[in-house]
């Protein structure tokens, strides 16, 4: 109960900080924190497997990739002087418009979800054993699993093709 609120607060707080940061390095790090909190929530939801891969895959792999790219690009801080050159629609006004939309969106969702008066409580028996997941993954979900392989192949090829140094990728 309490843990939920703690994790929730951490998740929301760090997420907000992610988007409030000018420095992408901090953003990445804060996001990892947020993922940690989510991982805790997964544990609360009787999903230890997801909690673990959340840490391993997400925080560990994906975020490191991000961090790597940030470092690679020697990512500058957001430059503000560009503001003067851009179209009026891109000035902070529209930015706020986006934020307002986000708030509206949140309100809509929250209203819909709370109004839906569905059973609050979780049913008893949680099926969360890694064995069950594994079995399901390689039987019922075998095909999607195979699809992900293609997906990753595509991502791999794509990333390689795009990120390769100029001139190296030509057919010659």
């Amino acid at each position: 109960m309490t843990l939920f609120y703690v994790f929730a607060a951490v998740a929301v707080g760090t997420s907000l900080l992610v988007i409030a940061q000018r420095n992408p390095v901090y953003s990445v790090l804060l996001l990892i924190a947020s993922f940690g909190a989510l991982s805790g929530l997964y544990v609360l939801l009787d999903a230890p497997f997801v909690a673990v891969i959340q840490i391993i895959v997400y925080a560990g792999a994906i975020m490191v990739l991000f961090l790597f790219v940030v470092m690679l690009l020697n990512a500058p801080h957001e430059d503000t002087e560009d503001d003067l050159r851009v179209h009026p629609l891109l000035r902070p006004g529209p930015m706020r418009f986006g934020a307002v939309l986000a708030v509206a969106f949140a309100v809509e969702l929250v209203w819909a979800l709370t109004k839906a008066g569905e059973s609050g409580a979780f049913p008893g028996g949680a099926v969360s054993s890694v064995a069950a997941i594994g079995r399901s993954l390689f039987t019922d979900y075998a095909f999607p699993f195979e699809v992900t392989s293609v997906l990753i192949l595509v991502a791999m090829v794509g990333a390689v093709v795009l990120a390769r140094r100029s001139g190296a990728g030509t057919s010659e």
Partner: protein, 102 residues
């Protein structure tokens, strides 16, 4: 033992989703924008897990697994695109890439 209702998780995920969506707008850094999208995907993951738990099935968790794969793939391609983009202009500001318009 767990007294928190599904709705709480759902509301939380909704808030996270909205935060992620907002991040696309408020930040002018491509990396941060990609991160915001990761927040959105994570919010969805939370929903899946919560529903899975509520429905008492493992499907939710398995879907999360696939989502994570997708997120990774997207991140890879996205970052690759960001790198090519950066090579052209030495900038990560999305608003400096507006030669295609109207």
């Amino acid at each position: 033992m767990n007294m928190v209702a599904v709705n709480h998780y759902l509301v939380l995920s909704a808030m996270l989703f909205a935060i992620g969506a907002a991040g696309v707008f408020v930040r002018r850094n491509l990396i941060t924008i990609l991160l915001s999208i990761e927040i959105m995907l994570n919010a969805v993951n939370l929903t899946f897990v919560a529903f899975g738990r509520a429905l008492g099935s493992v499907d939710g968790q398995i879907i999360v697994f696939f989502v994570m794969t997708v997120a990774a793939a997207e991140a890879a391609v996205g970052l690759a695109i960001v790198i090519t983009l950066f090579r052209h202009k030495e900038s990560l500001n999305p608003d400096s890439f507006t030669s295609l318009k109207w």
